[in-house]
């Protein structure tokens, strides 16, 4: 692929690498520092594997204080820092650089306090997303954001990227579920923002920090909301003769006043691959499939599913199959959950993440097919329809350089299309390295300047996760941060 340009490593820093590693070992102990080549290789990429860079060193601290020591050292020595959770970013958010220190939080994974009465949990941010729910499930609670990587991804990564998931239509994304954080600033200062209460005092720094892609500091602890789990939940499978009918049905369900917990969409190519792999019993003669899940007491679920069936009849469904048992529910979900993996078995794919207004869905899906066909490529669509968050999977052969280049061109055209209809470049994966150079499509120079000045407030020297989110040219041209943002000695 013609990859995004990465910043040139600082040769002065590379020349000092042995001394830097020694210093880090002195600071937090040699067992927390990885400097050998095989050890660093593990951290050279995240889930956007097209990009690989060996970091100078990796540190895996066990405490907030150790994170503070390392950041203070990096700040004093003007070393770049790349924060890392589990490395599941699909946008290159955890991609290292040759002259950067990776700070991985995965060893900081303790549960610090569970407070069922106030419905909060305090954890270290290296804990996995799923482990939070597991810690409270026995008491009937859960942590709502559920990205599909939830088995592996860390809360720290979720906070950095403001992760969503299948259930955010009803429960919101990460930013809507976090109450407080402990964060280490680039100069090593430890700050507490918010707490175990709603609506933190002063400016809404939590809003700015969540989704800042690791560029403002390293969050080591967080207090998040936990919610009582609904009594039951059941999906219904709806098959349609066209993508347009399926997307109109989604709009009609939402307009009726029903807010399902999830509405997932698959098109014909995705259905065929998922069914061949998972044997979920999906119909193969439909153009689009919806999985709509509702929750509540068994009686409430019955009533909601009946309402949805009634609404769907306005769009000539070819298949209506409501789950009748937990096993049936699991089977309906099996194909959807396996879809990405199943497609990955037959082809390399490039997963896009634009969001569009629901009303534009038929038009956009048709144009996505045209764009990919124009580049001689196939596309499969599997996505969260309720919130308009598309995931077109552009199929290509990674060993064919020309095909890979065409896949990337098609991807960029699709994202521009999303912006042009009133949507955005990324709904839940983040900008990272991948979409950095498309930011100018969505934002004016003034919009970007407003964002970059906030970055300078937290990190005046731009050491944290450098080279991500903003086009390099924009960063190079940015004005010097105002004096007042520098810290008084």
């Amino acid at each position: 692929m013609t990859l995004s340009r990465l910043p040139e490593p600082d040769r002065g820093v590379l020349a000092r690498s042995t001394a830097i590693v020694e210093d880090l070992e002195q600071l937090i102990g040699s067992e927390a520092v990885i400097a050998d080549e095989d050890g660093r290789r593990v951290f050279e990429a995240d889930a956007l594997t097209a990009y690989r860079r060996m970091p100078l060193a990796v540190v895996l601290p066990r405490s907030t204080e150790d994170v503070a020591k390392v950041l203070k050292y990096c700040h004093q020595n003007r070393l770049k820092v790349v924060p890392r959770g589990a490395g599941t970013s699909l946008s290159g958010g955890a991609l290292p650089a040759e002259d950067a220190i990776v700070i991985g939080i995965s060893r900081m994974n303790r549960i610090l306090n569970v407070d069922f009465e106030n419905r909060t949990i305090r954890v270290e941010t290296g804990i996995t997303n799923l482990a939070i729910t597991e810690a409270v499930a026995a008491e009937g609670f859960f942590y709502a954001p559920d990205p599909s990587s939830q088995l592996a991804c860390t809360l720290g990564g979720n906070l950095a990227m403001n992760s969503g998931g299948a259930h955010c239509l009803k429960y919101g994304v990460t930013t809507n579920n976090v109450l407080g954080v402990r964060m280490v600033l680039i100069d090593g200062e430890i700050v507490d923002i918010g707490g175990p209460y709603l609506d933190a005092e002063g400016y809404d720094f939590l809003a700015l920090i969540v989704g800042s892609e690791g560029q403002f500091g390293i969050i080591t602890e967080a207090t998040v909301r936990i919610l009582p789990k609904s009594e039951s939940a059941r999906p219904i499978l709806l098959g349609f003769g066209s993508s347009a009918a399926a997307s109109s049905c989604v709009a009609a369900i939402i307009a009726s006043g029903i807010i399902p917990v999830a509405i997932e969409f698959m098109d014909k190519p995705a259905i065929a691959v998922a069914e061949a792999y998972a044997k979920a019993g999906y119909p193969l003669d439909v153009e689009a499939l919806l999985i709509v899940e509702v929750e509540g007491s068994p009686e409430e679920v019955n009533r909601l599913l009946a309402d949805i069936v009634e609404i769907s009849k306005g769009f000539q469904p070819k298949v209506i199959e409501a789950s009748t048992s937990p096993e049936h529910s699991a089977r309906i979900w099996k194909g959807r959950k396996a879809a990405f993996g199943a497609i990955g078995r037959i082809s390399d794919y490039y997963c896009m993440d634009g969001t569009i207004p629901l009303s534009k869905m038929p038009e956009v899906l048709a144009k996505i097919s045209q764009i990919c066909a124009g580049h001689g490529l196939k596309v499969a669509n599997v996505f969260h329809a309720g919130d308009g968050n598309l995931h077109p999977l552009i199929l290509y052969n990674a060993n064919n350089e020309d095909e890979a280049r065409r896949a990337e061109l098609a991807g960029a055209e699709i994202l521009k299309l999303c912006v042009s209809v009133g949507g955005c470049l990324t709904g839940e994966h983040g900008v990272g390295i991948e979409k950095r150079d498309l930011m100018g499509v969505q934002f004016t120079p003034a919009d970007l300047a407003v964002q970059m000045r906030i970055k300078s407030v937290f990190d005046p020297q731009w050491l944290l996760n450098a080279g991500k989110v903003f086009p390099l040219e924009a960063v190079e041209m940015k004005e010097a941060p105002p004096e007042s943002t520098h810290r008084a000695a």
Partner: protein
């Protein structure tokens, strides 16, 4: 206009309808910019649950347009106008997001800031900018839109806001318990929130405040009122009501408000009509629900106080007698001991000019706050001093 003021360093007071002008620290000798002429809904897609409106659009106009399509703002924005001497129902949609003041449903559906999808605005450098957009899921760049919520016009003048809306529930009911002391009432509210019945309002009114309700049954009892709201289709509300009453049986016999009474009861709370404008002071304290009753008890050692607990106890509206220092030291000390923060909502102008109206910040947060202010408004002309002195 902002450019001219920035050049000459002339302070600007930003006003929507002016309904919250008596809240915060007073701003002296300022030019006034009003967004009141920036009116009108610019986008409304009921099937996408999204609306955009110019910042000066009255909230009443927004809510009327939504209601015509069976929709509403989920966070039930609270109207502090009447409690602070302004008329009720005059606030603008821009001010709702600029102050992030949410009502009872916040505990179930999130705050104003959770529903904000995008903004257009002008910063203190006179730059027009936008952030966010009109789609539900968007992580493109930093979340500047949400970051501006609750900044009280000190970072930017909002000119247009885009936000999520939700359908009105088919029906609503309220379950009421009488005569519980604060600690048991908050315990009940927390227990209710842990039930899988989606309680969308959880409040406790001490007896003197309950006496100011208009519901004839509740106002004349001379007893405290603890109330829980359920909203859904009617079959679900009936079943959930039973479940909830069963789970809370130990707290005594429950009364019920029907759909019409429920609308009336919660809309009174939304207008803070139990805390009418008078000479007393009004504080707004955010804390952990289980600490709320203890916090109020601690304050009562130093001054008489009457409390309206919202958000299952997580938000306390506290009415205390007027004093020159507004009881600031005692109230903030109690908040510090029990965890939380306190904002002085109603006091004489001279009091608001001399005490810290908003919760004082830790040194690290204050430094970030100054940095953020300088990033948006380096000349310090937008609502100077409204939140913090010298800022």
């Amino acid at each position: 206009m902002v450019a001219g003021c920035a050049e000459k360093g002339i302070p600007i007071e930003i006003v929507g309808s002016g309904s919250k002008r008596a809240v915060g620290r007073p701003i002296g000798n300022a030019m006034t910019i009003t967004t009141a002429s920036l009116r009108g809904v610019t986008l409304y897609e009921p099937s996408e649950l999204v609306m955009s409106a110019r910042a000066g659009t009255p909230l009443t106009a927004i809510e009327a347009e939504l209601a015509a399509r069976g929709q509403m703002l989920a966070f039930e924005p609270i109207d502090i106008g009447p409690a602070t001497g302004a008329a009720h129902g005059t606030q603008t949609i821009g001010a709702v997001f600029a102050t992030n003041l949410s009502g009872a449903r916040r505990i179930h559906s999130g705050a104003a800031r959770d529903h904000l999808l995008g903004v257009k605005g002008v910063n203190g450098r006179a730059e027009l900018f936008q952030s966010g957009g009109r789609v539900m899921k968007n992580v493109t760049g930093y979340d500047v839109a949400r970051g501006l919520s609750g900044s009280w016009g000190t970072l930017a003048v909002l000119t247009e806001v885009t936000f999520k809306v939700v359908p009105w529930p088919e029906t609503a009911a309220t379950v009421v318990y009488l005569n519980l002391p604060d600690n048991l009432a908050v315990e009940l509210l927390c227990a209710a929130m842990a039930q899988p019945v989606e309680v969308s309002g959880a409040v406790h009114l001490q007896a003197p405040l309950a006496a100011r309700l208009s519901h004839p049954g509740l106002k004349t009892m001379g007893k405290s009122v603890t109330a829980l709201r359920l909203e859904n289709f009617s079959g679900a509300v009936t079943a959930r009501k039973q479940k909830l009453k069963e789970a809370l049986r130990v707290y005594g016999k429950a009364l019920e408000l029907d759909h019409r009474e429920t609308l009336e009861f919660w809309s009174e709370l939304r207008r803070l009509s139990v805390l009418p404008h008078r000479q007393t002071l009004l504080w707004r304290i955010s804390t952990k629900p289980t600490m709320a009753a203890k916090l109020v008890q601690a304050i009562k050692r130093y001054m008489p106080a009457e409390a309206f607990y919202d958000w299952a106890g997580g938000l306390v509206w506290l009415e205390v007698p007027a004093t020159a220092d507004a009881g600031t030291a005692e109230i903030r000390r109690a908040a510090a001991i029990h965890g939380g923060h306190a904002t002085l909502i109603r006091a004489e102008r001279s009091v608001r000019a001399s005490v810290e109206v908003f919760q004082p910040l830790s040194p690290a947060i204050e430094r970030l706050t100054r940095g953020l202010k300088a990033a948006f408004d380096p000349a310090g002309i937008l609502n100077p001093g409204r939140m913090y002195a010298n800022l």
